[in-house]
């Protein structure tokens, strides 16, 4: 492949329409006669429904229908959970509450009206008609598993599952240690807060018996399958379209009650129905992330060598299982080896039901928790042994020649050079100088802290063996008669920029101009079945599918080219979109680069020139071949017309990106406020298709990490009331609070896929959080602080500074 585009900072082709406001999100799609849906949601965390009077709501002008849980209990299947764990308790999650409401925001009734205002008004009028008998709520997991009341009475307790994972003899490992370091850590509940909330538009054609659902989702095909099962419509009569999606961060890697309900209501009424989630609904009733409370114990030698690690953790699952809820903590278990050689690892997790919204995959999904545990405790170890945090890390790194590296969590890390990334970050930050400056600043009464994190993450999810619904990804590549290249990907980008990066891959591989490639995604009526975009998988798995589909397509193109030029295919060379007849001697010299075609040149010719006669020609472009393949007058025998190939790529392993982040903070002694004054991120995500996109992913991830480390928390009060219900109270970080990010990379290609890419979508949220908290703890170490829980609010810091000495 001549790398004309791959590896270059190609500007996102998606951006002009997004910046100009010309993109189409679900709410931008208007269908004549659309009815609007509003939900009546529980204001109690836990209550019994003793009656619902819908009569007042039905009197509101414009109201067409009101549905309650009892109306539809048997008509729509439960909200699905795809996670399979031994002895997992799976509650029956109906799309509308039937007997009890189990969290604030739990949908009780759906009101359908001719406009959205009438629907909202009627929902508000209906609420007092819901008779609820309040029950005590299960809220906090800080002190362990809450025993009473039991949320799902038939289960007998609030434990959804217990699981032990890991390899090695943990007891022996702990005995072999010189000392044990122990630290309790809280991973607070977070709300993903995609800029575009969820939204669904459903349209049923009763004559054709076809249902189309537009939904802001990350997984159009998986959603289609699940909705078909829930609603009971044949899957090939259901089309899911994912228009522009304004961010997901995992929150749209799900199948929600509202999606099924809208589809079903459209079928009942024979009209299009729309629901656009409000921000308050988004905070209350879209999945949350994190929410673990655990204690880590690490056995260490006096030189800093780790002998074993145990993590006992309670995971707050919320009231029900959404698609992957119980599986998220298992990802924590997988990543507890971090970037280190740890001979024995054990995680004991207890997943518990609480009267809250479900937790599920939020950017990083279980891995940020693991990275935080490991990287935070590395600093605790360094303090315990009075070593520099860097030395403890170096002591336990596997060397670059030890890969593939097997961990005691059962994984085989594909490739890595952790020392290289660490060294680059240290150099880039001027670490030694920073330490000197810190010392000076301390002498001057200033509080400066330096924190680092050498993370590893698991990406490119993943081999189908490890995935609940398949881990492959699909691509169809075809060259149209006019020479335009169409890429249909089963991945479903929603902000990642794969319309650009996949076009880069295709343009280089086919040898055409970038503008000749169109990447189509997110429409089950057009695109072959796919898995979707999550788990930093789209490029590593979906991009590879594109690449191999093109290889297949080119096999056929070469055959046609040889036929057209009347030579043997072995005598052809391919360069910059053009097949050339080689002299016998020259044909042996393959892989030799020719100058690439300048941008804008080449493809236009194919539109005007009829590619016959070809006798005597020595060169023919792949776009000419495409036309010939469609006209089908000059094809070799036994060759199908057309020029298209589909490939489903199944990866053999995950990929394991890594890196080192260094954060420097200054703390205001008067206010307790933490200010990040320097941030260095060196990430290794293997080969890079587009450095601009990688930087964008890293920046966004670090921002969300800063949010977790310093600001954000979903707070429920003792009664289970959500008190951070909108962005006035849920402290999403603002642009003005962000530092400059110095980003750089090392490049260790992955052997798992031919592109050598690893994935970078979640690196920021995985790698950055511990670096920030480590910096704050370091800044406060003169006060004897060894650990602080997130979010590290100014108040907590201020109290430490103001506490009387001694």
């Amino acid at each position: 492949m001549a790398d004309k585009y791959v590896g270059k900072r190609v500007k996102r082709t998606e951006d002009p329409r997004l910046i100009k406001g010309l993109a189409h999100y679900v709410d931008d799609i208007g269908l004549p006669g659309t009815l609007h849906v509003a939900f009546v949601r529980s204001m109690y965390a836990h209550a019994r429904i003793t009656g619902i009077d819908t009569s007042e709501a039905l009197k509101v002008p414009g109201v067409v229908a009101v549905y309650t849980g009892k109306d539809i209990a048997t008509k729509i299947g439960p909200v699905p959970c795809a996670a399979a764990l031994p002895d997992l308790k799976v509650p029956d999650y109906r799309v509308l509450a039937t007997d009890k409401v189990l969290f604030v925001g739990h949908p009780i009734a759906a009101v359908v009206a001719t406009d959205k205002y009438a629907a909202r008004d009627a929902a508000e009028i209906l609420y007092p008609g819901v008779e609820l008998e309040e029950l005590p709520a299960v809220v906090s997991i800080i002190d362990g598993v809450p025993t009473t009341p039991v949320i799902h009475e038939h289960f007998g307790d609030n434990i959804a599952y217990k699981l032990t994972s890991g390899e090695g003899d943990i007891e022996a490992a702990m005995k072999a240690a010189d000392r044990i370091v122990k630290q309790k850590m809280i991973h607070q509940r977070l709300a993903p807060i995609a800029m575009e909330p969820r939204g669904v538009l459903a349209r049923y054609f009763p004559g054709e018996e076809e249902l189309t659902v537009w939904s802001s989702t990350q997984i159009p095909h998986l959603l289609r399958t699940q909705l078909a099962l829930m609603i009971g419509i044949p899957e090939n009569k259901l089309r899911v379209i994912t228009p522009e999606v304004g961010g997901g961060f995992g929150s749209k890697l799900n199948v929600y009650a509202e999606e099924a309900l809208l589809g079903w209501i459209s079928m009942q009424l024979g009209k299009p129905v729309k629901w656009i989630e409000s921000r308050r609904e988004n905070v209350a009733a879209t999945i949350h992330g994190r929410a673990q409370v655990g204690t880590v114990e690490v056995g260490i030698k006096n030189d800093g060598t780790i002998t074993g690690l145990r993590y006992n953790v309670v995971a707050d699952l919320g009231a029900y299982h959404q698609l992957l809820t119980p599986a998220i903590p298992t990802l924590t278990g997988l990543m507890l080896s971090g970037a280190y050689k740890i001979p024995a690892i054990q995680m004991n997790v207890t997943g518990v039901f609480t009267n809250k919204m479900s937790t599920d995959a939020y950017r990083g999904a279980g891995r940020p928790e693991a990275t935080y545990v490991v990287e935070r405790v590395m600093d605790v170890i360094a303090r315990e042994l009075n070593l520099d945090p860097i030395e403890v890390r170096r002591k336990n790194f596997p060397k670059a020649d030890e890969f593939p590296f097997h961990t005691a969590t059962g994984l085989d890390y594909d490739s890595g050079d952790y020392e290289a990334a660490l060294k680059k970050a240290l150099d880039l930050s001027g670490y030694q100088k920073l330490r000197e400056e810190q010392k000076k600043a301390r002498d001057n009464g200033k509080l400066i802290g330096i924190g680092l994190s050498s993370y590893v993450e698991i990406c490119a999810l993943g081999p189908s063996q490890a995935m609940p619904a398949g881990g492959w990804e699909s691509a169809t590549v075809r060259i149209e008669p006019t020479g335009k290249v169409t890429v249909l990907t089963g991945a479903s980008p929603h902000g990642q920029g794969q319309e650009t990066s996949f076009a880069q891959i295709a343009a280089d591989e086919v040898g055409v101009d970038l503008n000749d490639v169109t990447v189509i995604h997110g429409d089950t009526g057009i695109v072959q079945y796919g898995i979707g975009t999550f788990g930093s998988r789209a490029t590593a798995v979906g991009g590879t599918a594109v690449l191999i589909a093109i290889h297949k397509l080119k096999e056929k193109a070469a055959k046609i080219a040889a036929h057209m030029m009347q030579c043997d295919a072995s005598r052809l060379s391919f360069e910059a979109g053009c097949y050339s007849k080689q002299e016998a001697a020259a044909a042996a010299v393959t892989g030799k680069s020719e100058p690439v075609v300048p941008v804008g040149e080449g493809p236009a010719g194919a539109l005007h020139e009829v590619p016959t006669p070809t006798n005597g020609r020595n060169k023919i472009t792949i776009q000419e071949i495409a036309l010939a393949a469609h006209i089908a007058k000059e094809l070799p025998p036994d060759t199908e017309p057309g020029l298209s190939a589909t490939y489903f790529f199944e990866p053999k392993n995950f990929t394991f990106p890594f890196g080192t982040h260094i954060c420097v903070v200054e703390i205001d002694k008067d206010t307790g406020e933490t200010k990040i004054i320097k941030y260095v991120a060196v990430d290794d995500c293997g080969k890079v298709i587009n450095p601009l996109l990688v930087d964008g992913q890293v920046h966004g991830g670090i921002v969300q990490s800063i949010g977790q480390a310093l600001y954000e928390e979903v707070v429920y009060d003792e009664q289970g009331q959500l008190v951070t219900g909108e962005l006035m109270d849920y402290a999403l970080p603002r642009a003005s609070q962000m530092p400059w990010f110095d980003t750089d990379r090392t490049e260790t290609p992955s052997p798992v896929n031919p592109l050598g890419v690893k994935g970078v979508g979640e690196a920021g949220t995985i790698g950055a959080t511990p670096a920030i908290v480590n910096a704050v703890v370091d800044a406060l170490s003169p006060y004897g602080v060894k650990h602080l829980d997130m979010p590290v609010r100014p108040e907590a810091v201020w109290r430490i500074i103001r506490a009387p000495e001694g």
Partner: protein, 145 residues
């Protein structure tokens, strides 16, 4: 959530006490009160328009006065719900006499839920104080007239 406050009214304790349990006076004085109907002795059904910051709506509920010790003390139990949420609470009202006035001291426990809890919780105390001030001011002019 605990709520408490003190208001001084230039009138005798008996007069203030009587006004505080008079449904017609209360309806006129409670900010946003649309109706207050006595269903049995010291039990009322009320409709009230109220708002905290961006959260506004109509609440319907019951008010129950008990532990009546005129003119010194009574307890009020309130339970209301509306589109923006629900409110539940119990409060004790104590009236003390000074030379020329009555000092009303109230303290109570309040629970809110729904949208008012999720977006207005941090403003509730201030909003409640403001409503109480409006109420007592209106009550005072009602008594004086």
């Amino acid at each position: 959530m605990k709520i408490s406050g003190t208001h001084e009214i230039q009138a005798s304790r008996e007069r203030v006490y009587a006004a505080l349990i008079d449904p017609q006076i209360l309806q006129r004085c409670i900010p946003g009160c649309e109706s207050l109907e006595e269903t049995s002795e010291h039990v009322y059904i009320a409709t009230m328009k109220a708002g905290i910051g961006p959260v506004k709506g109509t609440f319907k509920g019951n008010v129950h006065l008990n532990d009546m010790q005129p003119p010194e003390h009574y307890r009020m139990t309130v339970e209301g719900k509306g589109g923006p949420g629900f409110v539940k609470g119990t409060g004790n009202f104590n009236l003390a006499e000074t030379d020329s006035s009555t000092v009303v001291h109230y303290e109570g426990d309040m629970q809110v839920g729904g949208v008012i809890a999720s977006v207005g919780q941090r403003m509730i105390e201030a909003a409640a104080k403001m409503l109480a001030a409006q109420f007592f001011k209106a009550l005072e002019s009602e008594i004086k007239s």
